[in-house]
């Protein structure tokens, strides 16, 4: 069957000119063996996602008492029949109408049921994976036809067989065409996913080769997550992340230096991206790695895994970790690169906690194991002049209107170490094995003693450190820097995103004080500042972050300002 698929060109470059019509289809070096793995199968009756058809159908049978195979066998459905049955069920689920108690051939008479309800319904491709049509019925049918054929004289019987043969060949051709069309539809959908909102798809953006969702489909709830996941579809962001050697080296060094923690283990990689961490784990001897990501980059991860000969160890699953059904009940290690700007922006950590509580064995390990957050006062007149005061005179015009809101948002930037004008303060250490979602919304105290670098207090800088402990019992003291910890005797791995070391793609969060509103305080070397720092999530933008800092001279009045990370 797989031979029937047209092989797409193996690269973006080709010397032939005969592909004028679709010369910009994404290159997809489809590998047939990979195909079964390539697509995630959405449950017929709810939103769960599975990596193969039989386990999805088993789930539907167990959970909802709907036995697809039994219905198929009872009605003796062929390929088209199965497609119709799938679409009948999906249509019912989508429109919220209940299915007939007993599905009959009449329910499947309508040819419009051949139009897929889900645009890239992986289930339809996997029909061939299902157990053969119940042998009894198929045999009975064939026997009956055979008898009929033999009833005539010999010559007409041969004619009839030839005729039948031709008919079947025509049918096969039809099926092949049908498959090709589906295949094209899926390719187009995947193409589109590289640049288009998944929600737009769900909301029924019509496409060639696929049917639009009903216009009255429920209004999609605006959840930023679709956009969030898409932002990871493109390879440049992955390039930035992989080329961030501080980040990637830390994971590599920890995993390769601690192969005993991975050898023979089952590992879960949450938000695997291109699959680099999963492949590190596989090389370190993991028995099995499950790599989960909800972005289209997962297709590239699969190819990467395949080309590196690790597809026997690593299983790639597309979906939200909260939705996917993993092929295992428990894992020994969870590895994840979940950190966002100022550590908690993008709010991926709750997903890691979810997976930890759901899948990690009681003695299992989280990689990394700890993370801490730092704040320090900043004084950098040059930065303020170039980025804030600049608007006062733009080609002779006053553009201070552009300054409005300039203080409302955190600015992600790499600051030079000498912009920091006082001791850095570690305000929170998270032990990731035990931390809870509630711990991510907090207000902590902070304090600093100003140094001789202080001219004026321009704002605050926030960054984080990350620690890779070798066991759950490992304790990282609250105020320890990554450097101090890494130097702690054994071969320890940790990294910082702070201003005194190599810059990372996380940069630092700069919170500029709005001097049009703030009271100026008398600063100088040796003076002590104290206050609180609060992290909270934003209403209506779950992945955003509000950060409020209060500050004042020790014993004096405090003032406050809130910044957003959007």
């Amino acid at each position: 069957m797989t031979e029937a698929f047209p092989r797409s060109d193996s690269g973006s470059v080709s010397s032939s000119d005969n592909e004028e019509d679709n010369w910009l289809n994404k290159p997809g070096d489809e590998d047939d063996d990979e195909e079964q793995e390539r697509i995630s199968i959405v449950s017929l009756l709810d939103d769960k996602v599975f990596s193969d058809a039989p386990s999805m159908l088993a789930y539907c049978k167990d959970k909802f008492g709907f036995d697809f195979l039994a219905v198929r066998d009872r009605l003796g459905l062929d390929f088209h029949g199965c497609v119709k049955l799938i679409n009948l069920v999906r249509k019912g689920v989508k429109s919220g109408t209940s299915l007939p108690t007993e599905i009959t051939a009449d329910h499947l008479a309508d040819d419009s049921l051949l139009i897929p309800v889900l645009e890239d319904d992986a289930l339809i491709f996997c029909l061939d994976e299902l157990p053969e049509l119940g042998q009894g019925q198929a045999d009975a049918g064939a026997a009956a036809e055979g008898k009929e054929a033999l009833a005539g004289t010999k010559a007409p019987a041969v004619d009839e067989l030839l005729h039948k043969n031709a008919q079947m060949q025509a049918e096969l051709e039809d099926l092949t065409k049908q498959f090709t069309n589906y295949r094209l539809a899926v390719e187009q959908t995947l193409d589109k996913r590289w640049g288009v909102d998944e929600e737009a798809d769900k909301a029924g953006a019509s496409k060639p080769g696929a049917v639009a969702a009903p216009a009255d489909a429920e209004e999609p709830v605006r959840d930023d997550s679709a956009y969030y996941f898409e932002s990871y579809d493109h390879s440049d962001i992955h390039e930035t992340m992989i080329k961030d050697a501080v980040r990637t080296n830390a994971y590599r060094d920890f995993i390769y230096a601690n192969k005993h923690l991975f050898a023979g283990k089952t590992v879960l990689d949450i938000g695997c991206g291109t699959g680099i961490l999963s492949m590190f784990c596989a090389r370190a001897g993991a028995a099995r790695v499950i790599a989960v990501d909800n972005s289209a980059i997962l297709d590239k991860a699969r190819e990467n895994v395949f080309r590196n000969g690790l597809d026997g160890v690593i299983t790639c699953v597309r979906g939200r970790i909260e939705d996917v059904v993993l092929p295992v009940d428990a894992v020994d290690v969870i590895v994840s690169e979940w950190m966002g700007y100022c550590l908690l922006y993008e709010a991926m950590l709750p997903s890691v906690f979810f997976a930890r509580d759901r899948y990690l064995r009681p003695d299992g390990l989280l990689v990394p194991s700890h993370a801490s957050m730092w704040v320090a006062p900043v004084s950098d007149g040059e930065y303020v002049a170039e980025n804030i005061d600049w608007w006062r005179d733009v080609y002779g015009f006053d553009m201070r209107a552009m300054q409005a809101g300039i203080y409302a948002e955190a600015r992600m930037t790499v600051m030079p170490g000498d912009a920091v004008c006082g001791e850095a303060h570690a305000f929170r250490m998270l032990d990731l094995h035990t931390a809870k979602v509630e711990d991510l919304v907090f207000e902590d105290k902070w304090q600093t003693t100003l140094s001789d670098k202080v001219d004026a207090l321009d704002g605050f800088l926030v960054w984080f450190d990350c620690f890779f402990g070798e066991s759950r019992e490992e304790v990282v003291e609250a105020r320890l820097t990554a450097k101090e910890w890494a130097a702690g005797g054994r071969e320890r791995v940790a990294f910082t995103t702070g201003p005194f070391d190599t810059a990372t793609h996380w940069r630092q969060g700069l919170y500029l004080i709005d001097k049009t509103k703030a009271k100026e305080i008398e600063v100088g070397p040796g003076k002590k500042l104290a206050g609180e720092i609060r992290y909270s999530t934003q209403e209506g933008h779950a992945r955003g972050l509000d950060i409020r800092v209060t500050w004042g001279l020790e014993g004096g009045d405090k003032q406050a300002q809130t910044w957003q990370l959007n």
């Binding site: 690269g11 973006s12 470059v13 080709s14 010397s15 032939s16 000119d17 010369w23 910009l24 994404k26 290159p27 070096d29 589109k192 590289w194 640049g195 288009v196 909102d197 929600e199 737009a200 390879s235 440049d236 992955h238 390039e239 992989i242 080329k243 990637t248 590599r252 291109t274 680099i276 492949m279 590190f280 090389r283 590239k300 190819e303 990467n304 080309r307 590196n308 600049w390 733009v394 080609y395 015009f397 006053d398 553009m399 201070r400 209107a401 552009m402 409005a404 809101g405 300039i406």
Partner: protein
């Protein structure tokens, strides 16, 4: 002002009702950063300033339309140059900032700023004398507003009206870029010991917006598209152009680089600026198209090329680009040719 607050709300609603890709396009202009980058691009902003402010005799008492006015800087230049009235139009909510800016600069009675799509708004003047616009995108045409400018021209420009700028040319040259190609493309061959070639294909198909040093340029530059803004039609933006690149020296060609020049020919003394590798940095940088092969060229040899460009069918602000190349030499070992497909998105 309550009225303005409501207007912003309406504008935001209107933005939300657009196609997702369109929304993304307009929203990306709501943020400060991009306006800061454009204003701080001195080559760009100063060229427009000179073209407008040095030609007061042309702008005096004229009705001017600024298409995609952003922070309103070009509108203010035009008002300062003596225009009778300036209408600035922008879909992005940056226009509310522009209004504040125009007001504090005392130009509110000279400049009317309208939020909306050029194709949908109601113009306070039936015709205008001059259209000014900074519509250019990367590779001139990517995410460009040219079609909107053409709509404004066809709908509102007087018969003998002027367009600032009125001429744009895309140039292409071959470059030696071995080190960087290795870093950008070859990188994917070995990522921490793993084969990442699936991402290499993607990297090759995405033109790279970056600065190219003049010394990397191996061939003479060749124009592949010249737009006369008085005549060009939206359909002309899908184009095919055969051209030759002549090697200036013995070297290798890893990629083609493209850039554009912009001219204001209506000025008393024509003003032009270039975004090429031979001149000052602009925020447009240059656009690099890596070739699958490395061409080994000798001085004087010609590489026969063709460039085909068309807006993507699904998202018209994206571009589908095809480059064909063939090096014919007497040395059969150096002969090479191929076709590369790119997508700017």
């Amino acid at each position: 002002m309550a009225g303005e607050g409501m207007e912003i709300e309406v504008a935001e609603k209107q933005l939300k009702s657009l196609d997702h890709s369109e929304q993304h396009y307009f929203n990306s202009y709501n943020h400060h950063g991009i306006h800061e980058e454009m204003l701080k691009d001195e080559v760009r902003t100063r060229s427009y300033m000179n073209a407008i402010v040095q030609n007061k005799h042309i702008l005096k008492d004229k009705v001017v339309l600024d298409v995609g006015c952003g922070t309103g800087i070009l509108s203010m230049f035009a008002a300062k140059a003596g225009a009778k009235h300036v209408i600035g139009v922008d879909m992005s909510t940056i226009i509310f900032k522009a209004r504040e800016i125009v007001k504090v600069n005392g130009l509110s009675d000279k400049i009317t700023l309208i939020q909306g799509k050029m194709e949908e708004i109601e113009m306070p003047f039936p015709k205008v004398d001059i259209i000014i616009s900074e519509w250019m995108g990367y590779f001139l045409l990517y995410e460009s507003m040219l079609d909107t400018v053409l709509y404004a021209r066809d709908t509102y420009l007087n018969k003998d009206g002027l367009i600032f700028p009125d001429k744009a040319t895309i140039f292409v040259a071959g470059i030696e870029d071995g080190d960087y190609k290795e870093e950008k493309i070859g990188f994917w061959d070995n990522v921490y010991g793993f084969n990442y070639s699936p991402l290499k294909d993607t990297a090759l198909s995405e033109p790279l917006v970056d600065t190219v040093e003049m010394k990397a340029v191996v061939t003479d530059p060749t124009p592949v598209l010249t737009l006369d803004l008085y005549k060009v039609q939206a359909a002309d933006l899908a184009f095919s152009c055969p051209f030759d690149l002549t090697a200036r020296r013995d070297d290798f060609i890893h990629a083609l680089v493209a850039w554009f020049d912009i001219e204001f020919t209506a000025c008393h003394k024509p003003i032009r600026f270039s975004t090429g590798p031979h001149t000052k940095y602009t925020h447009w940088k240059q656009t690099v198209f890596y070739l699958q092969d490395v061409l080994t060229v000798e001085q004087g040899e010609k590489v026969e090329c063709a460039l085909h460009n068309r807006p993507n069918e699904k998202n018209k602000r994206d571009l589908d680009i095809k480059v064909e190349y063939r090096l014919e030499t007497t040395d059969p070992n150096r002969q090479a040719g191929g076709t590369c497909l790119y997508k700017m998105c």
